[in-house]
Each structure stands twice: as structure tokens, then as C-alpha cells.
């Protein structure tokens, strides 16, 4: 008996000393433990939900939401619509602020990154101070601050600041004229699309001609000419099928036109300038990482400074800039969930906020919210991987 147990122990010990056997044992133990914990947690959820008489189902999505969403630019939403529609409005609002924010943050970030590198001491210091101050302060504070400034310091609609009697800035939002498309606008749109396709075709042709004959065409100007000229001709030919609906003060607020609500404005501005500071540092690092020898070599080949920038510096800098840039885009999208702090109705505020409170379906609504963000993140990172592959250094 004693001998057997000693043998047994030594065989286990020898199994443990064998690297492959050990790795199998470790993996089996880890997977078992993790699955046991997950199973336990799921069982707890089932037991707990049953104890308070809740049932796990997504049926509530088809019930009327019975709450108002003040900002729904894409869908016609009323409080009689279902929770599913409310969730869709929230998702679209999140996407809207993310896309607008990404566009503005990129523009601002590249500008500030270049200013930060400027040879002018004053300008580069000013950019440095702004960047350091902004990125060391929580984004939530920026959002609340901008919202506070918009709401408290801008005048009421009655005394709104007018810009040429067509745009108005007030504490209820920013009102701009809305385009109204009349008959024939579709033709202009079609011409615009055709012109863009034609311009892209010309660009390809010009590149092939340059590769074959070395002749360089002014691609940018010709493309601009094609697109702008063709659209303008179509616009005039169709009898100018576009008019503007100008906002006007009716009662206590403006009617007509397009309205940017203060919540949207504050969230958009704050997210953009906060993220742009991170982008500026990324751009700066990317441009600095292109070795000076590259510029000198381009000059030695006789390339003019703008061609050097366009053909030598920017392509190499982009390769360094893009991966962290996309992760900043992702951060901006995730930070847009802070909308709930100022009452902008994004996906967290609609389905994860009011719908959750009204239906008491914590588990289901949180699954939807987490799922939506996971889809955003995975989509953006899939795009990033594709883009990374396409601009990667092609070594031969």
C-alpha cells in the first residue's frame, strides 16, 4: 500500500516535471475553473432573476417606450414607438456624434500637430500648453464645461446672436438654414456622382501616363474642375432645384432650418478638441519619426519641397500615425457614451438608461449596450487591420 502511494506520487511529480504534460494539466485546470465560474455566475443570474420574478426575454423591445427623445435627426420618433426604435435612435445618435467628432478631431489634431512642430517658438509653445492642459483634464469635465458655457453664457433665443439673419446662436442650440431639394435635384446628384467617377478615372489614367512617359498632369486642378464644373452646369441646367429654409423666431424658440442642440454641440466640441490633442501628439511623433535623411535624399533628387512632403514624408509618417490614430477614433466613440452626463440621447442614455429604468430589464438592456459597442470596436479594428496591411512597408 505504502509502496503504491509513493509510486503514485512520483508518477504525478514526474508528470509535472514534463513540460508538455504540465502545460496540458495547467490548461485543463484553467479551462475547468473558468467554465465552472461562468456556469456558476449564469446559474446565479437564473436563480436571482427567478427569485424576484423577472424573466429573461427580449419581448420588452416590442412594447411602446413611452418616453420622449428630444434629438432624433434620422428617425421620426414619438413616445408611442417601441423600445427597439428608441434603441435605434440611440445608436444612430452615437454614430452621428462619433462620425462628426472623428472628422473634426482629425482636422484639428493634424493642424495642432503641425503647429506644435512649427519653427515659430511662440506658436509651438502655445500649442504645447493647450495640448498639455487639455489632455491632462478628464474628458467628462470638458464636456460639462462646454455644456455649461453653451447653456449659461449664450443668450436666450429671443436675443440670439444672428449671423447674417440666416444662422442663429442661442442657448437652445445653433440654428442653420436647411437645404430643401426640389424637382430635378436628383439629376444634379447623379451628375455629381458621375463627375466624381470620371475624376477618379482621370487620376488613374494620369498616373499610368506618368509611369509610362514621365509627363506629370496637374491632377488636383483638373479633378476639381471636372467635379465642380459638371455639377455647376447640371445645377443651372436643371433650373437651380435647391432652396434654403431659414430658421425664424416663433414664440419662444426658432422654427425651421436645421438645429444643433446644445447637448450635441457640447459633446461634439468637447470630444473633438479633447481627442485632437492626443491626435496632435501622434502626428508630431509620426512626422518626427521620418528620418531627416529621407527629406535630404528627396531634395538631392531634385524634388520640390511640396512634392517631398507629398511623396516622401507623408506616406512614411502615415504608416506610423495610422494605428494609434485609429485607436484614438475608437476612444472617441467610446467616450461618446459620456453623453448621458449632459442628457444627449445616445445608446447608453436611451436603451441603457431610460428603457432600463422603465422595464427593469437590467441584464437584457446591458447586453444590448455592450453588444453595440463591441460591434463598433470590432468593425473599426477590422478596418484598421485592413488599412495597416495596405500601407505596410512592402519589402522585397
Amino acid at each position: 500500500m505504502a509502496i503504491a502511494s509513493v509510486e503514485n506520487r512520483s508518477s504525478i511529480a514526474s508528470l509535472w516535471r514534463n513540460k508538455e504534460a504540465r502545460s496540458v494539466i495547467v490548461q485543463i485546470i484553467t479551462v475547468t475553473v473558468v467554465f465552472a465560474l461562468v456556469a456558476l455566475a449564469l446559474r446565479n443570474v437564473a436563480v436571482n432573476l427567478e427569485a424576484i420574478g423577472k424573466e429573461f426575454s427580449f419581448d420588452f423591445l416590442t412594447a411602446p417606450a413611452a418616453y420622449d427623445i428630444t434629438f432624433s435627426p434620422f428617425l421620426d420618433y414619438t413616445s408611442r414607438d417601441t423600445h427597439l426604435i428608441a434603441a435605434a435612435v440611440g445608436i444612430l445618435n452615437t454614430l452621428l456624434v462619433a462620425v462628426c467628432g472623428i472628422a473634426f478631431a482629425t482636422l484639428l489634431g493634424f493642424t495642432m500637430g503641425v503647429l506644435r512642430l512649427s519653427g515659430n517658438w511662440l506658436i509651438s509653445r502655445m500649442a504645447y500648453v493647450f495640448i498639455e492642459f487639455t489632455r491632462n483634464v478628464p474628458v467628462l469635465l470638458h464636456i460639462l464645461l462646454v455644456h455649461g458655457i453653451v447653456v449659461t453664457t449664450l443668450p436666450a433665443p429671443r436675443n440670439a446672436i444672428g449671423i447674417g439673419d440666416t444662422m442663429f446662436v442661442s442657448n437652445r442650440g445653433f440654428y442653420v438654414p436647411a437645404p430643401v431639394f426640389e424637382d430635378g435635384a436628383g439629376i444634379v446628384g447623379a451628375v455629381l456622382v458621375i463627375a466624381i467617377v470620371a475624376a477618379m478615372g482621370f487620376r488613374r489614367w494620369a498616373k499610368r501616363m506618368q509611369d509610362e512617359t514621365g509627363k506629370i498632369y496637374p491632377v488636383f486642378w483638373i479633378c476639381t474642375g471636372i467635379v465642380a464644373g459638371a455639377t455647376a452646369v447640371a445645377f443651372l441646367a436643371a433650373g437651380m432645384p435647391l432652396s434654403w429654409e431659414v430658421p425664424a423666431l416663433k414664440g419662444f424658440n426658432f422654427k425651421g432650418g436645421m438645429a444643433l442642440k446644445p447637448e450635441f454641440l457640447a459633446l461634439w466640441l468637447a470630444l473633438s478638441y479633447y481627442t485632437s490633442c492626443f491626435i496632435a501628439e501622434i502626428v508630431r511623433a509620426g512626422i518626427l519619426a521620418v528620418s531627416h535623411g529621407q527629406t535630404e535624399a528627396a531634395h538631392a533628387l531634385g524634388l520640390r519641397p511640396n512634392r517631398t512632403l507629398q511623396l516622401v514624408v507623408i506616406p512614411q509618417a502615415l504608416r506610423i500615425i495610422v494605428p494609434p490614430l485609429v485607436s484614438q477614433y475608437l476612444n472617441l466613440t467610446k467616450n461618446s457614451s459620456l453623453a448621458i452626463a449632459i442628457g444627449y440621447m445616445d445608446v447608453v442614455a436611451t436603451i441603457g438608461g431610460i428603457s432600463l429604468m422603465q422595464t427593469g430589464k437590467e441584464v437584457e438592456t446591458m447586453i444590448i449596450v455592450l453588444g453595440v459597442y463591441l460591434v463598433f470596436s470590432l468593425t473599426i479594428s477590422a478596418f484598421m487591420n485592413w488599412f495597416n496591411r495596405s500601407i505596410r512597408l512592402k519589402e522585397r
Partner: protein
Amino acid sequence: MTESATAPRYAPGTHPDLPPPRRTTGVAGWMYKNLFSSPLNIALTVIGAFVLYSIVPPMLEWAFLKSIWTAESRVECWDKMEVPEEAACWAFIKGRLNIFIYGFYPEAERWRVNVSFVLLIFAVLPVLYDRLPQRKRWFWYVAAFPFLAGWLLVGGFGLTPVDTDQFGGFMLTLIIGVTGISFSLPIGIALALGRTSDLPALRILCVLFIEFIRGVPLIALLFVASTMLNYFLPPGTTFDLLMRVLIMVTLFSAAYIAEVVRGGLQGIPKGQVEAADSLGLPYWKAQRLIVLPQALKISIPGIVNTFIGLYKDTTLVLIIGMLDPLGIGNASLADAVWAGLAREVYLFIAVFFFLCCFGMSRYSLYLERKLHTGHEEI
């Protein structure tokens, strides 16, 4: 030829140095080079100076020269100014400073917070400053500090218990920040090792965890913590909201740390691991002695950036109803006596966060320089 005729003759090697061209040295030279070297540069300087001129003096006037430091209410504040609302009313912040620091921690027990803060300084000192005498012995104290501070703040065992609902203000920021920072680093390193390990099951689990956490916003996780975490626990068990938030914040930043450390691990040449293997070092020893010291060194900037992010993200607890400085600020702004002083409140909190986060980033730069063992200049 004519020059050599007029110039004095010097024996070779005795010619006195000529002064450099006037435009290249001194203040004038610096200004020419950095501010006025080309028309574009001059234009930029003028624009920059104009922007500074139109922002800085009014801001100084608003914040310091014309500001009011003692008053009982907003109206009194504005009465004291030449033009109402033209300057900051710091009396508001001054009157509520205690709430901003301690939240609603009972007044009689606030010495405990102060003691914990002093203890925190002594715990941080040996971590940050490596020339402290007997640094190794200090680490016993560092390891004991979380328990000591936890006991002091929460109470029990001879001290009056204080409910964590009453925690708030900068104290809450520090509690969440310090706990998150100190626990997320080891968890993050473990996750990074798991993600780069040879064991597929371990690797897949770590990847799933990291990608899930990184794919969702912290605020959604905090909602999960505040609304549904109790469902995952055995029936009847509940635990403190602050504890749940601490766990979520720690896990959240651990996932980010894991990615940063993974980058560092991938930056270590394979030869290092192979050399450790050939010396016969087992896995953990090889990691501890060879791989991690090098990997952590190159991931310091990323790690500190993650810490700064975590520290800033502590403000999000406001959304699930905890009273961090921003929450206190918002609650104070709802007070009818003081409403309308949003700028003062937000600026005050912004300066606090700026000092903490800027300090951290400066320290990381110092550490990078100190640990830099390569030959190229940085």
C-alpha cells in the same frame, strides 16, 4: 590682394577669433531665428501674440485681480464687483473646500483621512524614489499600506465605522485612482503573459477578456457594476458599490495595461528568452529575471499613460451617483444660493486633475531617462 595688404598679419594659429555674425547670437539672434525668420514666421508671431493678448490678460483679471474671495452668496459676490459677473467668485470654492476634499465623511472622523493621506505619501515615496535608505524594508510597509488605509477609512476594529456612501471629493478620486493603479499593474502583467504564452487555452481566454473589456466603454461597465453585478453572485450576497466600482476600474485598466505590456514583451528579442532557456531557468524565473525587467522598461510611457487615463476616468463614477469632485461640483451648482458659478467649479477641479496627471507624465519622463541604458541620446 587688397585685403591682405590692409589686414594685419598674424603668425599662423595666432589669429584672434572673430565675433559671430550679430544676427545669430544673443537675444536678438534667438528672436530672429525663432520668431521673425520669414514673412510667414512674422505673421504667425503676430497672430500668436494677438491671441495671447486677447486671452491671457482678461483671464488673469477674471481669476485673480478682480476675483472675490470672501462672500456668503453669489449675489453678495456680484455686489462686491464693479460689474456683476465680471470676475471669479472663489468664495464659493473656499466655503465648500472641505466637502470638495472629504465628501460627506463625518467631520469628527476626518483626521483618519488626513492620517491615511500622510501614510500614502510614505507608501509612495519608496516606490518612486529609489535612493531611499533601506528601500527594501520600506516595501513591507508599502504592502501593508492598503490594509492599513482601508481600516482607517472604513473603520471597524475599534474605530467608528463609516459608510462608503459618505466617501466623496478628492479623497474618493485618490482611493479609486490609487487602488486601480496598484492592482491593475500586476493583473495586467499576468494577462499580458497569458496572451503571449504558449498554452492555447490560456491565450484564448486572455484574448477574449482583454478584447471584451477594451471594446466597451467604462461607463457601460460601471452601469453593469451598479445595476446587475449582484445578479452574478449567489443569492443573498451583496457588496458595497464602492467595492464593485473598484473591481471594475481595476479590471478595465488591467486590460489596457496588458496590451501595453504585450507590446513591450514583443519588443524583447527572442534571443533573450532562448538564452534564459539555455541557462536552464524555469519559465517564471526567466520572466522575472530576464524578460519582464526589459519589457517593463520599454513599456513605461504606455503604462503611465494608462494610469493617467485611469485617474481621469475616476470622474465617471459621478454618472452612477457617487460623489467625486465633479459630482460634488454638480451638486453644489444645484444650490440656489450659489447656482451659476459653473466656470469656477470646473476650473478648480480641472487644475487639481491637471496637477496630478501632469506630475505623473513628468515622472514617467524622468524614469525613462533614468532607466535608459542605450547609447543614443534622448
